[in-house]
């Protein structure tokens, strides 16, 4: 098979695996993880083959046309950036599937969990390799939906449901902003593919729509990547099971916004707006996220807030845009995915084995769980930015970006050092406190985690070490191509573990010193943060609730006003509008018909029929009770049907007969159900008003029909159908042939509507059954019907 087909298969594979996951889990229990992990592992290997080509600067594209008339394709673009993301997603994905096998062992809905997480994996893969805008957007929203399902996995708890909805509203809403942004880019550039867009020079930046496009794209990226003030959904998303937090909400999905910014950096970046907005939001998010992390004692929440901070750091470095900053972003992207994924899984192991995630309630576990301790330590060293770990390289590279001697650079350097020092303290609080000190009695008997649980974090932690040790190879294959893709021009990352005295090292030392100080005073720092937050009182999280409540209140108010629930008001409004449209338009344009021409010799039987119709109408108006009126309405309908028959429309006439019969039956039935008083007791003014509207409608229709029939009849369609009905569609009845053949697709839609209407009315009839006793009867009927069927 060729590469294109294989790549397409690789992109579709997670969805296929998601389909078989529930069945497989029923069959194999938690060991299904070993089988399901083959899918991401195979994808990882497939994309690994692109590594040499991409490292030498090649860009692999491929795909299929999707909607050619709209210039929309299902096509992918694999350069250094996509490939790095792809390898992270599939590599960590395989480990996460294994970890989920152990973590949710015995959970009754483990199969569903596997299905959701694989579905997410497929969406995320699609997102990072998408070349066409529409495909990018579709996968972007799919990741939001998968995240919704995973956060709300434990749907019996209200907190999980709320967090899921919040994440969906924030990231899904951001996705709509992104769509608008992409549409603007499409309009300005005229291309629908990223690979073509990237070849644009500064034209986009000079376009008058640049700012609008930028703001919309940033709206999408900032919500997805939890930038302040949209960060609140991410800590709440910790309601999800830990594998989800490790995978979606640290390593992959939240990086989608970062990915988008990196991807568009060559065409949108470098402008004053870009260099103002991104670093500003980034550094704010970094400091606030890190400070909020210190406030928590739940290890998952601490890690979640440091993820917010790290995302801020990434956005800031993309925004700074200098060569060192861009390279730092590329390095930190991978480093963060490795250490944060590992730390989340460690927190999950502790939770799983001890029953608590609060680090103040744990202690002395080093002898019981030596392996977990080692993993946690390795990950924390990388997160703290200590040699010889990958995190150190990323941090050094970032600090090199602050070597310019101006106020802006110094300010960013100080804030970054502060944020990093806080993250340092949090990292070691998670990695040391539960393991050191005196043994605290945990809720469960503690022993080392099973292999399914430790394989994932162990591999990630080891990777964090080995990449730093063999940095030359890693830079050549991964870091440099990624940095080149972000920068839009060839870049070579050179940083290594060799000591190089200078400003970056000094800033690193300062970070570590501050971090140690923070770590030692963590309890005091936390108390201070609690006081500060209590003083502020309000936060975006509460703001979100207020926003939703306000929205619901507005919707209720508008609905109450527009739909009071009185049927007669709706009918009056509808018919009044019909009358106005029919009468006002000819009045405005002076398009009244000429006086109709009455032929002198109308045959007697036609006159008789018209007399019957008028008689029927008269009977309707004077009828003393409703039932008589309904039946009299049928008289008029039948008379019209006869007129159709006389003028050569037997099909129409047939239908009219049946429709009249049935509508009389149905109306009569409805009347008996409604239990109205048999006679009509409207007061006179109301009767007069309704009569006026009715007469106006009738007059309007009469004028309209006269005007329409005054236009010469165009026979071209008649001729067409007469000519082809028999010869092409083998039918002599033109009306029927049109319905079932020439315009068959329309009919298909119509009968679908008929069916849905039937369902809706059935539901309404059941709903109105009202009292409990009737509901019980209805239920009994239903079961009786089901039994028969």
């Amino acid at each position: 098979m060729d590469v294109t087909a294989l790549t397409f298969l690789a992109l579709a594979l997670p969805f296929a695996a998601a389909l078989v996951a529930p069945g497989l889990t029923r069959l194999l229990g938690h060991n299904a993880a070993w089988v399901l992990a083959i899918a991401p592992a195979a994808i990882f290997l497939h994309f690994l083959r692109f590594l040499p080509d991409v490292a030498s600067g090649e860009i692999v594209t491929g795909g299929y046309t999707w909607i050619p008339s709209f210039n929309v394709s299902f096509s992918w673009l694999i350069d250094g950036l996509s490939l790095t993301f792809m390898l992270l997603i599939s590599g960590i994905g395989a480990l996460i599937v294994l970890y989920s096998g152990g973590y949710l062992k015995g959970h009754p809905q483990q199969g569903r969990f596997f299905a959701f997480i694989l579905m997410f994996m497929g969406s995320m893969q699609g997102l990072v390799v998408s070349d066409s805008f529409l495909m990018l957007f579709v996968f972007w929203e799919l990741t939001s939906i998968a995240s919704f399902l995973l956060i709300g996995f434990d749907h019996a708890r209200e907190a999980a449901r709320r967090a899921a909805l919040q994440a969906l509203v924030v990231t899904g809403g951001g996705g709509l902003l992104l769509l608008a942004g992409l549409l603007i880019l499409w309009n300005v550039s005229g291309v629908t593919q990223l690979s073509l867009l990237l070849s644009f020079g500064s034209e986009l930046k000079e376009s008058p729509f640049y700012l609008a496009a930028l703001l919309l794209v940033l709206g999408g990226a900032f919500t997805k990547s939890a930038q302040f003030p949209f960060h609140f959904w991410l800590p709440n998303a910790m309601e999800a099971p830990t594998p989800v937090s490790a995978y979606l909400h640290s390593a992959t999905m939240v990086k989608a916004g970062v990915y988008l910014l990196m991807r568009l950096n060559p065409v949108l970046g470098g402008t004053p707006e870009w260099q103002l907005l991104l670093p500003l939001f980034g550094v704010t998010t970094l400091v606030i996220g890190a400070a909020l992390a210190v406030r928590q004692t739940d290890m998952k929440l601490m890690l979640a807030y440091t993820t917010v901070a790290s995302l801020g750091l990434l956005v800031m470095s993309i925004g700074l845009g200098s060569p060192h900053a861009v390279e730092a972003a590329a390095l930190y992207l991978v480093a963060h995915a490795l250490f944060k994924g590992a730390l989340f899984m460690v927190a999950g192991i502790l939770d799983h084995e001890t029953g608590s995630r609060d680090f103040t309630k744990l202690g002395g576990l080093r002898s019981a769980m030596p392996l977990t301790f080692a993993i946690a330590l390795a990950a924390a060293l990388s997160m703290g930015g200590l040699p010889p770990f990958f995190g150190f390289l990323a941090k050094e590279e970032l600090y090199s970006a602050f070597s310019a001697s101006n106020l802006r650079s110094a300010l960013f350097a100080m804030l970054t050092v502060l944020g990093n020092a806080l993250m340092f303290a949090v990292a070691f609080a998670v990695a040391l406190k539960p393991f050191l000190g005196p043994r605290v009695n945990a809720p469960k008997h503690v022993h080392e985690a099973p292999p399914l649980l430790w394989i994932g974090p162990a591999v990630l932690a080891l990777k964090g070490l080995s990449i730093a040790l063999f940095s030359g190879l890693a830079h050549r294959l991964v870091s440099s191509p990624t940095a080149s893709a972000i920068a839009g021009e060839p870049r070579t990352v050179e940083i290594s573990l060799e000591p190089h005295v200078g400003l970056p090292l000094a800033l690193s030392a300062l970070t570590v010193a501050l971090g140690v100080a923070f770590y030692l005073n963590l309890a005091r720092l936390r108390a201070a943060m609690v006081t500060i937050l209590a003083d502020i009182g309000w936060g975006p999280d509460r703001g979100f609730d207020q926003f939703l409540r306000g929205l619901v209140r507005l919707a209720v108010a508008v609905t109450r006003r527009l739909q009071g629930g009185r049927f007669d008001v709706y009918m009056t409004a509808t018919f009044a509008l019909v009358a106005i449209v029919l009468l006002a338009i000819p009045l405005l344009y002076g398009e009244f018909p000429r006086a109709p021409f009455f032929s002198a010799d109308v045959p007697v039987h036609e006159l008789a029929i018209i007399a019957i119709a008028v008689g029927g109408l008269f009977a309707v108006v004077v009828a003393s009770d409703r039932l008589t009126a309904i039946v009299s309405l049928g008289i008029q309908g039948f008379a019209v049907a006869v007129i159709y028959l006389l003028y050569g429309a037997p099909d129409l006439s047939f239908t009219q007969f049946m429709v009249e019969t049935l509508s009389v039956v149905v109306l009569a039935l409805v009347m008996t159900r409604l239990r109205l008083s048999p006679a009509d007791h409207r007061p006179l003014p109301e009767k007069a008003r309704d009569a006026t509207i009715a007469l106006a409608c009738g007059l309007g229709f009469a004028l309209f029909l006269l005007r329409v029939t005054a236009v010469p009849f165009d026979r071209s369609l008649t001729d067409f159908f007469n000519l082809y009905s028999k010869s092409v569609a083998h039918g002599a009845n033109v009306v029927n042939v049109i319905i079932v053949d020439f315009r068959g697709t329309d009919t298909l839609g119509e009968i679908a509507v008929v069916m849905i209407t039937g369902l809706a009315i059935l539901a309404l009839v059941r709903l109105r059954a009202g009292s409990l006793k009737r509901a019980v009867v209805a239920e009994a009927d239903e079961t009786a019907v089901e039994e028969r069927a």
Partner: protein
């Protein structure tokens, strides 16, 4: 309804109308008629039977839930359209075969299947409404 004449005649009338509705459905391609009209006639037949003998009897007589009939119709109509795709022609293209049944050449087509789908949807949906209204109207 109490009238003995009506109760006695209703089954006969209903079966005649049902037969007629199928006749109208089948002749529809060349003479006035078709699935929609046929369906309406069948619903009227069921309505008459329901008035004479009660909704329960009608439900027993048609065996399936009316909405299931409508669903089957929609499925038939959609598959009539999809068959064309498998034959490599655009969606909804009419396809014809002329098998000889008892020595008589009978033209059959996806168009006929489609029209039967229309018939079933109309019968199912409208009778579902009528029956559920009639059912609780008497309470």
């Amino acid at each position: 309804m109490k009238s003995v004449i009506f109760r006695t005649l209703a089954p006969v009338l209903t079966s005649l109308m049902m037969l007629f509705s199928i006749f109208v459905l089948l002749r529809g391609h060349n003479e006035p008629g078709g699935g929609f009209i046929g369906g309406l006639i069948a619903v009227s037949a069921l309505a008459i039977y329901g008035m004479a003998h009660g909704v329960e009897t009608v439900r027993r007589a048609i065996f399936f839930h009316p909405m299931a009939i409508a669903g089957a119709g929609l499925l038939a109509a959609t598959s009539a359209g999809l068959i064309a795709l498998f034959a490599g022609v655009p969606f909804m293209t009419g396809l014809w075969i002329y098998p000889a049944i008892f020595g008589l050449e009978v033209p059959l087509s996806t168009v006929l299947l489609f029209d039967s789908g229309v018939y079933l949807v109309v019968v199912g949906a409208i009778s579902s409404i009528a029956l559920s209204l009639e059912e609780r109207g008497g309470e």
